[in-house]
Symmetry: C2
Subunit: 219 residues, 2 copies
């Protein structure tokens, strides 16, 4: 299947995970940087190919087959990220940018080689789960957004849900990294901001960031 098709089903899969009813043609078009008309067009074509269910004016829903394709692309993306991060010590943003291209030109054979080489990891360097060769995500996610955490408690960063270079640059220069521990000092509910401590530095984060930084309670 083509790059355009792979990106289309991937976009639906990801938008669906974030927020249901977020998979209308317009949402997907925005994500992919194409016109709404192009998204509707593609949706109709993929419905014929049984990759998704299409009903006028309704959100797009992947079929089993469509989801399988999306998970296969996501698997390759996250394996590449993990591999490039480990092997070449590239930044979170750089690995994302390269994986975005490589994911479409990677055979299942090579994906499995990469996975074996890495010891079949369950998470990529952003903390996103890596589907296995059958497209299954077996790990249960107990993490919460930083915006949902309690004052005075400590948490371990488990996921950085973003594609954005500025965000990753900010994270890199502030020690916000998968596996690191942070303390929540204040939840400024009214202003939707959170004050945290990390590496003895105090940082104030607004909701743009506290909604995409996921953490787990410390044991």
């Amino acid at each position: 299947m083509s790059v355009a098709v792979e990106n289309f089903v991937k976009a639906i899969y990801k938008n669906d995970n974030n927020d249901t009813n977020n998979t209308k043609p317009g949402n997907i078009a925005k994500k992919l940087g194409i016109s709404n008309a192009a998204a509707t067009d593609m949706a109709k074509k993929l419905a014929v190919k049984k990759l998704l269910h299409y009903k006028k004016y309704q959100p797009l829903q992947l079929t089993k087959e469509g989801e399988k394709m999306a998970l296969n692309v996501v698997r390759k993306h996250r394996l590449w990220e993990a591999f490039l991060y480990k092997t070449f010590d590239m930044s979170l943003h750089d690995i994302h940018r390269e994986a975005e291209l490589l994911e479409h030109e990677t055979s299942d054979f090579l994906a499995n080689k990469i996975s074996d080489y890495l010891g079949n990891p369950k998470f990529d360097p952003h903390g996103d789960p890596i589907p296995n060769a059958n497209g299954e995500i077996t790990t249960t996610d107990t993490s919460m957004a930083l915006s949902e955490t309690q004052e005075g408690k400590s948490y371990v960063i488990s996921r950085l849900m973003s594609d954005d270079k500025e965000f990753f640059d900010f994270c890199a220069s502030n020690g916000i990294k998968y596996g690191n521990t942070i303390s929540v000092n204040k939840q400024l509910t009214k202003n939707r901001m959170t004050q945290i401590s990390i590496n003895n530095n105090s940082i104030l984060l607004n909701e743009d960031f506290t909604n995409i930084i996921y953490v787990n309670k410390t044991e």
Copy 2:
């Protein structure tokens, strides 16, 4: 530039190296598995883009810019081959097949990372030279085809010029590998065959193989 364009200039570059006057649209079409008409079509378009010189019924000739593009793709191809061979211990045919896809989706940035990681190698696992980041091939080739060698002498295998799975499988199961030493026992000139010894085994090769196995004299 698109995958089709990259493959087109690469095909001209490679055919030109093998045999001049081997770059007519028909030759390129055959190599790429497209119709002659499609090749002519593409040639005209790329002439407008100043990637090659096109004159009706004449061989296609890359411009400086076209050659630069070809060398950049070749560089990425051979770097991937070297990298996959080393990292995942894949066969000569497998690395070629994967590199054929990855070469088009690899940034210059990543190519340089791979090159550095490998210690900026000058040859890939087939013995093909790897152009540097400026598209230069600095190594001088003193090798000759196995068909040109002298009876009774020993040689070191320096290059396996093929894309063919059957050939690589044959090589793998007979110890014919970049860097290995072979002795030439007999040149059966009349039948265009060569009898060699490798690892204490005697093998008879016909010209299909002796023309694509390149060797260097032993010091």
